[in-house]
Symmetry: C2
């Protein structure tokens, strides 16, 4: 997966060796780290960039990531803002807290309703990353696929759909089936039904500009 | 206005006298501070609350606030998360940075595209608060009012609208006038026009279930 790694850059660099270890392990696990500059020991935050441009660069990088991994032991305004940005854009965020640190885990991180918080040591960081990123990858798969079967009357849509549903059930793939128009369950689908029965002036006299709206609004 | 005040509680309390000064000044300026416990010297964060409940209590308090004022000189995960929460819920946020602090203003605060950042000293905090909160109050007013003039044909909608617009202009009140159907500027408004000209089967033969959709979608 593509990972945005975030950690304190300007306030507190004492845990830089941990950050480097995390990034190295992410790469060993086959992930791509889009923000490797965060662990560059010589980094000076945003050299040559205005603060606004720096903020924009980070959010654009997150746009390209699948997930965010944040080291949250040392405080960082930027990391906190970017965590929220990632969550608002549908990316899961793993917050890593170093168990051997002097600072306690802040309650507002522990209590954040959308963060995945994990405590790590130098010995188990790889396992912690693998477990959580595997879980994130499985969430991605859980997004599901949308399969559309369309065609003219009598072309076999129903037959193909039945075969597909049977296949999915036999292979224990969860599925949900919807067909349109929903003559019984949606207001606009009911209108399609009444139109097809000729209530609104017959198939040839009612304007398609009007009747097509019923179909569109049933979606 | 109702103000949510946020600042570092567990990580760094060295600026507590500043926080107290800010809250005292907000109150002197006539505002209500919903989170005064933040400046209680004996506060222990979330005593008796789970971390999740603490987080929920703070976000619910922000729901009731008009604006957020955050002291951002000392780092705070909680304050950062709550700043984003407030912004996501349409509350303007003033981020206050203490000019005489040893820590520099982080670039990611300065570069945050939605934050109002102000530098303050002990001498000017009241002026800084007044200026920014007055501005926030004027933003609230700038939300504007929606005036709807409706009635049957020939009832005088046009006459009343002209009188109103003339009044607003004479009193230098900014205004924007829209009338429906928008026969020329919207796709569905054009459809209303074609319907009224009889293109879709005449006023008495086309079903109102169909033709009313054009009006609805022009809004």
């Amino acid at each position: 997966m593509k990972v945005y790694f975030g950690a304190s850059i300007s306030l507190d660099r004492s845990l830089l060796p941990n950050y480097q270890e995390i990034v190295a392990n992410l790469k060993k696990l086959g992930h791509q780290v889009l923000s490797e500059y965060v662990v560059d020991p010589s980094i000076k935050p945003g050299v040559g960039l205005t603060p606004r441009d720096l903020f924009a660069r980070e959010t654009k990088t997150i746009d390209q990531a699948d997930v965010m991994v944040a080291e949250v032991t040392a405080p960082s305004w930027g990391t906190a803002f970017l965590i929220e940005y990632a969550l608002n854009h549908g990316k899961p965020v793993l917050a890593l807290y170093y168990k051997e640190a002097a600072m306690p885990l802040p309650m507002m991180i522990e209590g954040h309703p959308e963060l995945y918080v994990a405590h790590y040591t130098k010995g188990n960081i790889r396992t912690v990353l693998k477990k959580n990123l595997d879980y994130f990858a499985s969430m991605n798969h859980r997004k599901g696929k949308l399969i559309v079967i369309d065609g003219t009357d009598g072309s076999g849509k129903g037959t193909q759909t039945e075969l597909l549903l049977k296949y999915l059930d036999e292979h224990k793939k969860k599925n949900k089936y919807i067909d349109f128009p929903r003559y019984y369950t949606s207001f606009h689908g009911q209108m399609v039904g009444r139109y097809l029965k000729g209530e609104f002036g017959g198939l040839n006299s009612a304007s398609p500009y009007l009747t097509s709206l019923f179909y569109a609004m049933d979606r």
